[in-house]
Subunit: 257 residues, 4 copies
């Protein structure tokens, strides 16, 4: 019995080197396979939304989709099986995404949840594992932690600017264009589209007062959208210095030993 | 009499710890309550602008609004009462905003000033007190003071660019499109919408000369809108260094004592 | 005779303190007056372009315009009179602008050159003299000299990108939309409007191939428009360090004396 | 025979100083001539696309085009002839571009490949040789190598954001606007145009759910497009420092000798 347990543990350990690690050849091959399946299932999902495709293609897509789901289900079961702390994995971020990626298929037998399949792209993110770009991620996370306060402050001020713009344009335009600027909520749409400089052209002021107001909002707002770039640039420069120092002190520590 | 004065001063002091400070539990609770009320009153204001809502909802909104105004009025009176320098508070930036947030309601009995209620969002800014993000604010203010001259110069050059563009497009287009580019003022609208890259599509050149002119204005103008990001990034990097030095010299001063 | 010459030189010197310098009270007052006149004449020019204004307003504008031109003419004559090197001033950048600002008025008696009046805004730039912001200008000029090569390279690559995009979209769209993408020149308009993210909506691809092409052009082009900000931010940081060192070495030189 | 070989080698060497180098007067003149021919042939190509031009102009363009192709053919043959490693040049980046620039003309006798002529603009890039701006190129390449990982990470995250946005808007809008958001592929077009803030206005959400979704996508996406600027700014600053150190160590090496 103990022996069998030991054997099982051995098998689990071997599977871990394939499924969880990716510094071994097998692990890398496994990762590439999963990534390919994810990309294939996303393409299948996209093609499936095209109207007027022939029944043959739809049939092939159905089969491809079923194969993908089976593969992902097997992967999910394996990951739960080999996880050292099963509950921790199941309720982890990637664990939930892994589940969400296969759940729609099984629930689909009862109700239509086809859209949930887009969660598979989140799996793509998980699959890449970001090991290869871990240093870049590390720098970004240092940079973010350095300027978290600036970003929150910027976000708050942006929200206020958007709301104040929406209130202002509602005041100036809601009589001239009751359909478009009918309420502050509708004006918020204009606000967001204008201050992000998207400017679809479906809503814009037509009164002189509204145009003058927009003029001044833009003078202020354009500076606004360039603020994150400035914050990030400054933070990344400092993050690089911090990373260098961490690396130096690590090297120094290793020398001491 | 002196005793009573002393007692009153004691009460005032206690109230100050609640209303003006937010490093105590009570102060924080008070702040959160005011912030919630502000958000509620802003939502109520927004819903109120929607046309075709039922009388019941409008009635509820009216009541919510009245409760908010009463609460803000009480807060304002309290703040005036406990302020060490009353006039200073009344004519301070936040004091005026606090007043503007309640004034429309009382004036409304006579004239319609409903739009002034949007000043409540400015109160939101006041309410957050920015204590939590004071270091970020500090860095921004250092950065701004470092590049104030650059920003003013940039603003002046931007204004000139907008005016020159407007004059130019007026010259090239006012004959082809007399409705849209009827005067330099109307062309200014095009100028602002184009140089900020919003581009609604309500006004654009149609003559070849106008298009060629726009082409060159854009080649120049696009660099323009990225200038603030560059200025800010450079300033924030320096602001961080200055802040660090300030912190160091402060620590050094404390050690000396 | 010599005495008279000396006297004249004395008067010239006094006038110079008023007209050319602005660290004296008189010089500053003179500068403000000229700046006010420039702003007034620009507003008059703008109002003049509005159609349907009454004859009375047009008459007033005419008078204001005449007063401005007379003032600018007097200023120009004075500047030529007191200049130490007359020809140098006349053919200097500001000298030409000063002339261009009054010339249209006198030529107008013969031919219609009303649009040349917009050169007055360039005078605004001259009038500000930028003394107040000379340090900011200095930093910008250091920054520009540091990254001149990068900007030229960026400009060249941008031009190529715009031309290649135009050629590509012409190839994909000129059959589907012969009116809009009729030639590479017309496609250049689309290129410029799209890559600067203005997006008026007057020209856009409608074929699938054209949309896919635009998709990839945008993926590349959006990074493009953020490049100048990055270049400038990096240059301004270095410009500040250089400026500091210049200031230090200047102080050191002064100490040595 | 040996003598003749030697003579030929001599001639080749002389030609190399003209064709391949540009620090000599002859080399620079040769480069300018090629650049002029490239610009002329590009202008000819552009004019050729204009519909309704007279036969005379089209005839002149045809001749200009033939002259250019002959000149480029001679240049290509010369470059192959004098190249030390012929195959290396033929299959090098510039070698292929040089060939692509003349090939369409000869193939055109059989099939219509007129569009391939746009490859001539790539030759412009080759012709400039970038010697003059080599230091700027060097800085850019250092900067890119420093932040390659960040750019790849950013590109991956951008692609995911675009796909998720497209899937989301397809879900919210495909029933209200089956023509515009008919499939995820069509939604990708909207995604790209919106997140790059181009906003043509040909496709935009009209349902409330779609607008709210777009609102949140934009709040996130606008920060997105400023990320490359931040990465580049930070990288260029470091690239400059690295370049300086390289220059210093080079000077030090030279001193040692």
């Amino acid at each position: 019995m103990l022996n069998m347990n030991h054997k099982l543990e051995n098998i689990k350990e071997k599977m871990r080197t394939v499924v969880e690690q990716n510094d071994t050849l097998r692990g890398r091959v496994f990762d590439y396979c999963i990534q390919c399946l994810i990309v294939i299932s996303i393409i299948a999902f996209s093609i499936d939304t095209v109207r007027g495709i022939s029944e043959t293609i739809r049939f092939i897509i159905g089969i491809v989709d079923k194969i993908c789901v089976i593969a992902f289900s097997l992967e999910y079961i394996t990951r739960v099986f080999i996880a050292k702390k099963r509950l921790k994995y199941i309720f982890s971020f990637y664990g939930i995404i892994d589940l969400l990626a296969i759940l729609p298929f099984y629930l689909n037998l009862f109700i239509d949840l086809r859209i949930l399949r887009i969660f598979r792209i989140l799996r793509l993110f998980a699959a890449f594992k970001l090991i290869r770009y871990s240093r870049a991620m590390h720098r970004f996370s240092i940079a973010y932690s350095l300027v978290k306060e600036e970003f929150i402050l910027f976000f708050m001020v942006s929200c206020m600017l958007i709301f104040i713009s929406a209130s202002g344009i509602y005041f100036f335009e809601h009589e001239a264009q009751p359909e478009v600027f009918g309420s502050v909520f509708q004006s918020l749409w204009w606000s967001a589209i204008t201050l992000t400089t998207v400017g679809y052209g479906d809503t814009y002021p037509i009164t002189i007062a509204g145009k003058v107001f927009t003029f001044f909002v833009l003078m202020f707002g354009v500076g606004m959208i360039t603020v994150p770039a400035g914050i990030l640039a400054s933070a990344l420069s400092r993050a690089h210095i911090i990373e260098k120092e961490q690396y130096k002190s690590k090297s120094a520590d290793e020398k001491d030993i």
